[in-house]
């Protein structure tokens, strides 16, 4: 709910001219929440341009994230990232690359550091079906397997590669099919069912800790909004979109919690209101944060 509210607020801000357009993960939240909740404190995350869910699920402050999107000094990267490349080293969200596949080329090095320096954590790389069509995806799987690197590959297969449906651009139907030739265990899971995603992620992580080897988890989900904001989605089959929206991950979980009598409709309403207030506060923090000084342009280039 927090992720949805955060991204919808940014859509609103984009439409009113208050923030630049972002690449949202609306409809894909169950993946971020289900996987990140299964990671431990020592585990590291590498993500991509559709990263708000991973950051918020890891506990990032929506105010500092929004400040980053709005180019403020209080942003996690002091306004040098914008929405696309936010990293938060303190939370273990490292080396966000928006070159599609970039995180796949870096994750082997992060896992190598863990392995060589005797650190317990595993390295998790979130990528999409588009990145699975990049050559470096295969190079990454191959090296991770040959060097026995503790990596959790999470393919968020959201059916869209920017403006192209994956059915048009990808020979394999499931990205997980690529794992076996590299000797990597893989599983495909319903990415709109957060409980299923979480269970699959826990299983994958247990396997990585047990074997020390990489694992590929494919999360089948759907990008409900456009590639970026604004995007009229004129190229999207409305029936397909409606089908996936009917299986919206937040809707599915809310129904289940209500049906199982864990939460009442009133609880859910109150939760939604709390989240909205949190996001409004975040937006106020961001809007009132100072801009960087022009002199900041030249800092942080070299160590």
């Amino acid at each position: 709910m927090l992720i949805r509210a955060y991204e919808e607020k940014l859509v609103e801000l984009q439409q009113s001219g208050g923030a630049a357009g972002t690449c949202t993960s609306v409809g894909e939240e169950a993946s971020a929440v289900g996987v990140v909740a299964a990671l431990s404190h020592d585990d590291l995350i590498l993500t991509n341009h559709r990263s708000a869910g991973h950051l918020l699920a890891r506990g990032a402050d929506p105010g500092r994230m929004m400040a980053e999107v709005m180019g403020r000094r209080t942003g996690y990267c002091h306004g040098k990232s914008g929405s696309l490349h936010i990293s938060v080293k303190d939370l273990g969200v490292v080396l966000t690359s928006t070159i599609v596949g970039g995180e796949l080329s870096l994750v082997t090095g992060v896992a190598l550091s863990n392995q060589m320096l005797g650190k317990p954590g595993i390295a998790t790389a979130f990528f999409g079906d588009g990145a699975a069509c990049e050559g470096v995806f295969h190079e990454s799987l191959n090296l991770a397997s040959v060097w026995k690197l503790p990596i959790l590959y999470v393919c968020e297969n959201n059916q869209w590669q920017a403006f192209v449906h994956r059915a048009e651009a990808m020979a394999a139907w499931n990205v997980a099919e690529h794992a076996a030739p590299y000797g990597i265990t893989a599983q495909t899971v319903d990415g709109n069912d957060v409980i299923a995603v979480h269970a699959a992620a826990r299983h994958a992580i247990d396997e990585i800790r047990r074997t020390g080897r990489p694992y590929l988890l494919e999360v089948q989900t759907y990008r409900q909004r456009g590639h970026y904001e604004p995007d009229d989605q004129a190229y999207v089959d409305p029936e397909e979109l409606a089908r996936w929206k009917a299986r919206d991950p937040i809707l599915l979980l809310s129904k289940k919690l209500w049906h199982d009598k864990v939460l009442t409709g009133r609880d859910l309403g109150a939760m939604n209101a709390r989240v909205k207030e949190q996001i409004e506060a975040a937006a106020r923090f961001a809007a009132h944060s100072p801009m960087p000084e022009p002199a900041d342009l030249l800092t942080d280039v070299y160590a």
Binding site: H78, S87, V94, S105, T108, V110, M116, D300, V301, A303
Partner: protein
């Protein structure tokens, strides 16, 4: 002082740095095969990799940002096109884009240059591409001692350093200091003092300039020779001091002329020392063509000493003031 060739000097630098700092690791195509003694001494800190330059460089960048200090061997400079994303977009930019959260202490080595007749897909002096990319440092030494000293400095640097090895120099021998010989990045070497003209170069053409300077001396022209060694950061102070002394400059490199390092040196001089110039800055470079294979064509591609001598004489002739004879 013991004599070593460039290969041995590089090997010595790597061995010493592996010994000095447990975070240093080295990997690449055939690295463990070619450096079996290092595998013996340092185990899996020296590794072979698949023949896949993108993941080699990406792995180095990821490892550098999280606690290791990788040295990677990408073999031949044209192969670096496969590594460009990791080097340019990740290692060069992610420090800045993350607001300074990460550093990328890594070295990417590659060979280039004429001499082995390997042709354009193994020989491409593309060092200027990386000079043009923010966040990177670029080194291209000319002597075994500098190969050792600059490589040690590159490994100790907190930033990504491109370390180019001119193929023609790999078997050249020279005196190499034993032990902890470190040459700082960003410092040019004044190899020969002169009064009448400054020859500025790097890599193999430094030797061509020294040959030319010897020939010029026979004609009574006193040439100063500067080896840039580091292309980024560039030692502007040494360049400008020499220009102020001689008033004439010839920049020599094997890489092609357009937007090459020589263009930057010429622009630097025109911005800061144009008043000291007694003649226009002259460039002698490789042509804007892919590197050929045939030895004859390779030599035609590469700047040669007679062309430098000729250029200096032309500059001297253009100058009203007489060249002071020795």
């Amino acid at each position: 002082m013991p004599k070593l060739n460039t290969f041995a000097a590089i090997h010595q630098a790597i061995a010493e740095e592996l010994e000095r700092d447990a975070r240093v690791i080295m990997f690449g195509e055939g690295v463990a095969t070619k450096r079996a003694d290092l595998v013996q001494a340092f185990g899996n800190r020296v590794r072979n990799t698949p023949l896949a330059e993108a993941i080699i460089a990406g792995t180095a960048a990821g490892a550098a940002a999280t606690g290791l200090r990788p040295v990677i061997d990408l073999l031949f400079a044209p192969f670096m096109t496969y590594s460009m994303d990791a080097i340019v977009n990740s290692a060069g930019k992610l420090r800045y884009m993350s607001g300074g959260q990460f550093a990328f202490p890594m070295v990417a080595m590659a060979m280039t240059g004429s001499g082995w007749t390997v042709g354009a897909q193994h020989n491409h002096n593309n060092e200027a591409w990386f000079v043009h990319s923010p966040g990177l440092k670029v080194v291209m030494p000319s002597s075994p001692a500098d190969f050792k000293g600059l490589l040690k400095a590159a490994i100790r640097d907190e930033n990504p350093v491109l370390f180019f090895v001119d193929m023609a120099l790999t078997h050249v021998e020279g005196e190499v200091p034993e032990g902890d010989h470190v040459v700082p990045l960003g410092k040019a070497a004044l190899l020969r003092q002169g009064r009448d003209v400054t020859l500025i170069s790097y890599a193999k053409t430094v030797h061509t300039c020294l040959d030319a300077a010897a020939k010029l001396a026979e004609q009574g022209i006193s040439a100063e020779v500067i080896d840039l060694r580091s292309l980024k950061p560039l030692d502007e102070a040494t360049i400008l001091a020499s220009v102020r002394k001689t008033g004439r400059v010839v920049v020599v490199h094997e890489a092609s002329r357009l937007c090459g390092v020589g263009a930057e040196v010429a622009a630097l001089i025109s911005e800061h020392a144009v008043d000291a110039l007694r003649a226009p800055v002259k460039r002698i470079t490789g042509p804007d063509v892919p590197a050929p294979s045939s030895y004859v064509l390779e030599q035609a591609f590469t700047p040669q000493a007679p062309a430098i001598v000729e250029a200096v004489c032309e500059l001297a002739a253009r100058t009203k003031r007489e060249v002071v004879t020795a």
